[in-house]
Assembly symmetry: none
Homo-oligomer: 428 residues x 2
């Protein structure tokens, strides 16, 4: 069964609000095995809404409309749906009383216009609204189903979960199950090429997605139940793991920082950051994860050279000769925060996030990252090729966190693959 989502509201067309309802409903419908092939947004306008409903029903048996259930004259969704189905409307006294009661409870005068919300298309199912005055409706006629929900997410979501999901379950003869393989440092196109033969798969399907600096593969199976779906997915997941190796930082995990915090906890390791261009973004993202206090005790934002020298002990002559954006300064920052914090790993980020300013000694997007355990150091240089400050800061922080993940994963066995920290510093 396929569904079209129609969002009703001029405020969306004006860009005053972000349409989060469509995302929520699309995701939940996918879980139910109902495909969404089209989403549309129309304003509070009778003709255009009527046309949108008509076009949607040409391709779908089910449409879900959100918004336009308010008490004001420009709230038209229920009336226009009733018109489309040629159903008269009547006042539901029980709902009218509920609305009156709602105002009494709030000690407010009820504008007569609010009773408009008690008008119901004949033969429709009324959906309780426990978070507002506007009830929803389901109209089922001639093999077409229109589900009408209020616009505010805090009214729409509970109504959908409590009333619509049970109603729709009888229409979904199968379920859809997805697993997301999250990768780092490989890029969408390279990732896609390595698994290209799998992208042709039908069930489970394998689809690549890019998101700022990362790439993920979604493996999706359609089956009669969860167990059957997992059976379909598991051999494909195994093959992907073999093909992508440790570019994969997790499956169904929210972010690289979440995967890294989890790994550090498992291994009983701790980390501290010395951040220049990221200005606290690494620490912020790691501490986004509840329970991060087990793995991060402190971090320092050393934005100025003076602080890099005074607080982290970066040699002044190195700052002068090689500038703050250099591998030696990154290594000394990492050493400094490791010693200051006593954490297992000291991590540093220093680079040019942009915009360009007098005195940049390298291209915007040039970033140095160092990780040290005190004895060994692992260095990474990024050239993002972009001038977007937010992008460069985000990707620098992602890479720093990912370097911690890679070091922790191989710790302590592969330490010797790093350089000896003091040897490296002494070469300068």
């Amino acid at each position: 069964m396929n569904c079209e989502l129609i969002s009703v509201g001029t405020e969306i067309l004006l860009g005053d609000i972000v349409n989060t309802n469509s995302q929520y409903l699309s995701k939940r419908l996918a879980d139910l095995g109902i495909g969404v092939l089209h989403q549309s947004t129309v304003g509070d306008n009778r003709e255009r809404l009527l046309r949108a409903i008509d076009e949607a029903f040409r391709e779908n048996e089910l449409i879900i409309l959100t918004g336009g259930l308010g008490p004001t004259p420009d709230d038209l969704t229920k009336e226009v749906c009733a018109e489309y189905f040629a159903l008269p409307m009547y006042t539901d006294e029980a709902i009218a009383d509920k609305i009156r009661g709602y105002f009494v409870k709030k000690g407010l005068e009820m504008p007569e216009s609010n009773l408009k919300q008690a008008l119901i298309p004949e033969g429709s199912i009324t959906l309780q609204n426990n978070n507002g005055t506007a009830p929803g409706s389901i109209i089922e006629k001639d093999g077409k189903i229109a589900v009408i929900l209020p616009g505010p997410p805090f009214e729409m979501k509970p109504m959908f979960e409590e009333s619509v999901v049970p109603f729709l379950k009888k229409y979904s003869e199968h379920i859809i199950l997805s697993h997301n393989v999250r990768t780092f440092g490989i890029g969408e196109s390279a990732m896609s090429e390595r698994v290209s033969h799998l992208l042709e798969n039908a069930n489970p399907s394998v689809a690549p997605y890019a998101k700022s600096g990362e790439a993920l593969l979604r493996v999706t199976a359609k089956a009669h139940n969860e167990e059957e779906a997992e059976k379909l997915i598991s051999p494909v997941l195994d093959e992907i793991k073999n093909l992508l190796g440790d570019s994969i930082y997790g499956i169904d995990v929210g972010s690289v920082e979440e995967a890294t915090v989890k790994l550090l906890k498992e291994k009983g390791l701790t980390v501290a950051f010395a951040e220049s261009c990221t200005g606290g973004y690494c620490a912020k993202r790691v501490t986004d994860i509840a329970g991060a206090s087990d793995v991060i005790h402190c971090s320092v934002v050393s934005y100025s050279n003076d602080i890099k020298n005074k607080v982290l002990g970066v040699k002044k002559e190195h700052l002068d000769r090689y500038t703050a954006v250099s591998d030696i300064v990154a290594a000394e920052m990492a050493k400094g925060i490791k010693e200051m914090s006593g954490a297992d790993f000291g991590v540093s980020v220093t680079g040019y996030a942009g915009p360009y300013y007098e005195g940049c000694t390298d291209e915007i997007g040039t970033i140095y990252i160092a990780v040290t355990d005190g004895e060994y150091v692992w260095l990474k240089k990024l050239s993002t090729g972009r001038t977007d400050r937010e992008y460069n800061r985000y990707v620098s922080a992602s890479n720093a966190v990912n370097e911690v993940r890679l070091c922790a994963a191989a710790y302590p066995e592969k330490r010797s693959e790093g350089m000896r920290l003091d040897e490296f510093i002494s070469t300068y």
Copy 2:
């Protein structure tokens, strides 16, 4: 002139991402006096995309498509548009070279598939992408205009502003000019009440908006030119300034951190943060602002009590007796970072962001903020009444930054309105 927005991408139909592009474009088009009557989203599917374009052009001379410009086989937008306009495609060697260079710079192997992004519809205008490899296009034929933009917002937005806005200006016969009055600490309903008589205005219109912990008023005028619009707006702005006073942190400023950095620069003042529950969020947000290096030299994330004591000099007995979430510890953290950094203001944030854990000595959402210039201290206690970790961290950081703004604005005249730091500490 009317425009339809078509978002292309199965990940939107699956609910994997929120469609923020439509909001951004709708808002910017409204500014240009171009109406958006319909938004739609289709998957990576040739037939459905072709049909969506055809339907859109029945009602609009202009359509803007976002997404589907990637290198993978399911990225179809440019091809399908060329097909709709019956235009052949050719490889633009300059773009191909740019793409090759992009990979060389990143030290990555370029998959051949990426050259697909250099395919250009004949006779189209190519739009530079300074933040990625996929160029955009404008196809203008038979009185129809298709603008094709990449999906990732950090690529789409700059391309729209740099290339599309100048192109569209010649099509908009009147302009819409808005000024946003940003307030902090007053709340949407209280703000709206104070200016309620203005909310009836037609031109300029005055509309209130709420956004996580803040409220703003948008004053919008429609006129033939900018000067005329400014004339309409300025008396209303003056009245709003009188009514809302220093709850206003800026007009047309992006954020409270931007306003604060600007003010600190003007006054030649510097700040350093000692962050516990915000874990670097204050420093991150201040350093989001280009040029923040003039006002912030360092910050410390002191997540553990041990670090609060060792690095910031918070008395161990105070941590033991009053816990880390107390006004005395906030004051000592601020003192410690002020002394360590040598900044004009030391600022601390300590509190319970959530979730609840064994050992919370106060409600989730209880946050203490302290600002000190070394001699005086200003304290603020928040009780957000919410348990949402991200919300509590965001609002704590916003309040800390706003406290800096208020102190800096009154500095040095109103110092004596604070308590003497050492007297305050000695009372414990």
